[in-house]
């Protein structure tokens, strides 16, 4: 390689003095700086002019914004070192209220510029797009497609620059505005900035403040994020899908179980008997039934009591007794049925029939001992007792279904309310936004 007599010099960081107040300035982005802002007197200077002509002076409101990451700080983002060289506050107005966010200009002499944005503790790592997204303006809300991913329109607003500090690779002025449109597909956001002559597209990716504090080695803790940000990834997003997939799998298992037991169940009537109970008669009311055979594997026994009760009650003490072993299953059933008319119309409570399942009864010869009790003043009650073997119990499946459904519904509800909070800040907020949620 032939070497010329004047090889290009190593590029050096320049130290300059502000022509407005004499304060020293550091140019960190070499020849890329277009404007540089004096921190002492808030003069915006022409960095391309050797005499640093003052382009604008801006007044600083009382809420002077300070960058959380100081100018000159370096950190690694996606494997590349970047230095913070500029800072600006931008403000939009929605329904007359100002909302401000901060933008940090990051620089690497080989890779160029990158940006960080911060709004109420929510951070985005932003870079300029190299390709053009496709805007589907006919959709409602409009969407854009970029690299196969669809982004939904979130907000369009005029953003004004309200505070600047450090250096910028463009002509920055306080008061200048651009139309900023955000399209989201969390954790990413596509933004277009439109001025008269130019449209610039950038992509932001949601970042945790903690990660930034680590890479820039900042003291203390990052500010706590407030609320839900437009492209903040939902902490429930993957979980909701998973919980429904697990629910589906368990539901399937449940159905298989139910069909299996239903098909294999004997569901057989073993015994039935008709009886009469007169509550006015003194003496021993208890009796035993004829014996009957319970076959098959250990399974349940269903005892059904049907009565002719009318505005009255009866109490039945049952014992299912194994003739060979003497093992007894004791259970009591109250059957009561009341009905009538009042000012609200007809009413009823309870019913004349009752069914109970006795679980895990081994095979063998059994009989029932029955001891009815009743109001001594009532009189005669006729009733039937029916015994069935191995009856499928559907209530178990109902309870299991609810137990499975509860976490899935809870998570889905939390996810929906997260999305609700996200979209409440957008141009497509539900009409009730800002107000209280519906009462029950």
């Amino acid at each position: 390689m032939s070497v010329g007599p004047t090889p290009p010099p190593k590029l050096q960081v320049k130290a300059l003095n502000c022509p407005g107040c004499g304060a020293s300035l550091t140019v960190r982005s070499f020849g890329n700086a277009v404007t540089i802002v004096c921190d002492s007197c808030h003069s915006i200077l022409d960095a391309k002019d050797p005499s640093l002509q003052i382009l604008q002076n801006f007044k600083v409101a009382t809420d002077k914004a300070r960058p959380l990451i100081p100018l000159g700080t370096r950190g690694k983002i996606r494997g590349t070192d970047y230095e913070v060289i500029g800072f600006q506050r931008r403000t939009i107005h929605v329904d007359g209220l100002p909302y401000s966010w901060h933008e940090y200009v990051l620089f690497n002499p080989y890779k160029g510029f990158r940006y960080l944005t911060e709004y109420e503790g929510h951070w985005n790592d932003v870079s300029i797009l190299k390709a053009l997204p496709t805007v589907n303006a006919y959709k409602s809300p409009p969407t854009v497609t970029y690299l196969g991913e669809t982004y939904k329109h979130f907000q369009t607003a005029m953003a004004g620059t309200s505070y600047v500090l450090g250096e910028f690779p463009w002509q920055v002025r306080v008061g200048e505005t651009a139309e900023v449109t955000d399209y989201i597909s969390p954790p990413r956001v596509l933004s277009s900035e439109r001025t008269g002559k130019e449209v610039t597209w950038s992509m932001g990716e949601y970042m945790s403040g903690a990660d930034l504090w680590k890479t820039f080695r900042l003291p203390g803790d990052p500010p706590q994020p407030v609320g839900v940000y437009e492209n903040q990834p939902s902490p429930m997003k993957g979980d909701v899908q998973n919980v429904w997939m697990v629910f589906g799998a368990l539901l399937l298992a449940l159905v298989v179980l139910l069909i299996g037991f239903d098909v294999s169940a004997q569901n057989k009537q073993i015994f039935t008997g008709s009886y009469k109970y007169d509550s006015r008669q003194r003496g021993e009311a208890s009796f035993v039934t004829n014996d009957f055979e319970l076959t098959g594997h250990t399974s349940n026994v269903e005892v059904e009591t049907s009565t002719d009760l009318d505005n009255h009650w009866i109490y039945l003490n049952y014992a299912l007794i194994n003739e060979d072993t003497g093992q007894a299953f004791d259970f009591g059933r109250e059957v009561s049925y009341y009905h009538g008319y009042d000012s609200d119309g007809s009413w009823s409570e309870g019913g004349p029939n009752d069914t109970v399942a006795v679980p895990s009864v081994p095979a063998g010869r059994y009989y029932l001992r029955v001891e009815p009790e009743g109001d001594p003043g009532y009189g005669v009650t006729y009733y039937n007792v029916t015994v069935k073997r191995d009856v499928p119990q559907y209530s178990f499946y109902g309870i299991a279904l609810l137990a499975l459904l509860a976490p899935a519904i809870l998570l889905t509800w939390r996810s929906i309310s997260f999305e609700h909070m996200r979209w409440a800040e957008s141009d497509h907020a539900p009409i009730s936004s800002g107000g209280d949620d519906d009462d029950d």
Binding site: G4, G31, F113, A131
Partner: protein, 211 residues
């Protein structure tokens, strides 16, 4: 391969061409702009001091694009509202030439695409679409720039320019086009946006405080 050589008609320095098809070069010693004629080199002008720029690329920077090696052998420097940008003239190792544009460290590689239909200079608006080679491009930037100087070898005569107009276009797939209205005959360049690291550049400039 023997490189064509000549003598600077202004200062007598030896001029070595890296690329046999170069039409213009700048004497590294006296900054004379030299045009290759059939017979010898002819001085047509002089380059004033180049503006300070901070492109990491320099004459002699090597890299590769689409598995083809290249070396930067010349450049045109423009000035626009955002500062300077460089159009680096690349000599590809297969003997063709290409351009690497570096505007604030945003890089694009493009190739001259002669013979296509082009809109008139005043016709373009941001967002307007044009098609070349079955690819639709949208206008993203219209740049009024100012010619600031040349360095090294170029494939055409380029000097004594003033204000120039460029129209940049992009596609959904990262392709890139430039309409160059700096000459009487407008020129079209087609290419794509590239990532710095994909060019595998060597022999770059160094920056104080950055390794």
């Amino acid at each position: 391969m023997t490189q064509p050589t000549g003598t600077c008609p202004n200062c007598g320095a030896k001029i070595v061409f890296r690329w046999s098809s170069s039409v213009q070069t700048v004497c590294e010693y006296c900054k004379s702009i030299l045009i290759c004629t059939n017979v010898d080199l002819q001085k047509v002008g002089e380059v004033a001091d180049l503006p300070p720029d901070s492109s990491p690329i320099q004459i002699g920077t090597e890299g590769s694009y689409n598995h083809k090696g290249f070396v930067a052998i010349g450049r045109i420097i423009y000035e626009y509202a955002q500062g300077n940008w460089n159009e680096w003239h690349l000599m590809m190792h297969d003997g063709t030439s290409a351009w690497l544009s570096d505007a604030q460290d945003e890089y694009a590689v493009s190739f001259a695409a002669p013979g296509r239909k082009m809109p008139e200079a005043g016709q373009c608006r941001v967002g307007q679409r044009f098609s070349w080679d079955n690819q639709e491009y949208a206008v993203t930037t219209i740049t009024n720039a100012h010619y600031r100087g040349v360095q090294g070898e170029l494939p055409f005569q380029y000097w004594d320019k003033e204000d120039v107009l460029f129209v940049d276009l992009r596609t959904e797939t990262g392709k890139f086009a430039t309409l160059d209205y700096s000459d009487e005959k407008p020129a079209l360049y087609l290419g794509e946006m590239v990532e710095f690291e994909d060019l595998a550049l060597k022999n770059l400039r160094s920056f104080e405080g950055w390794s």
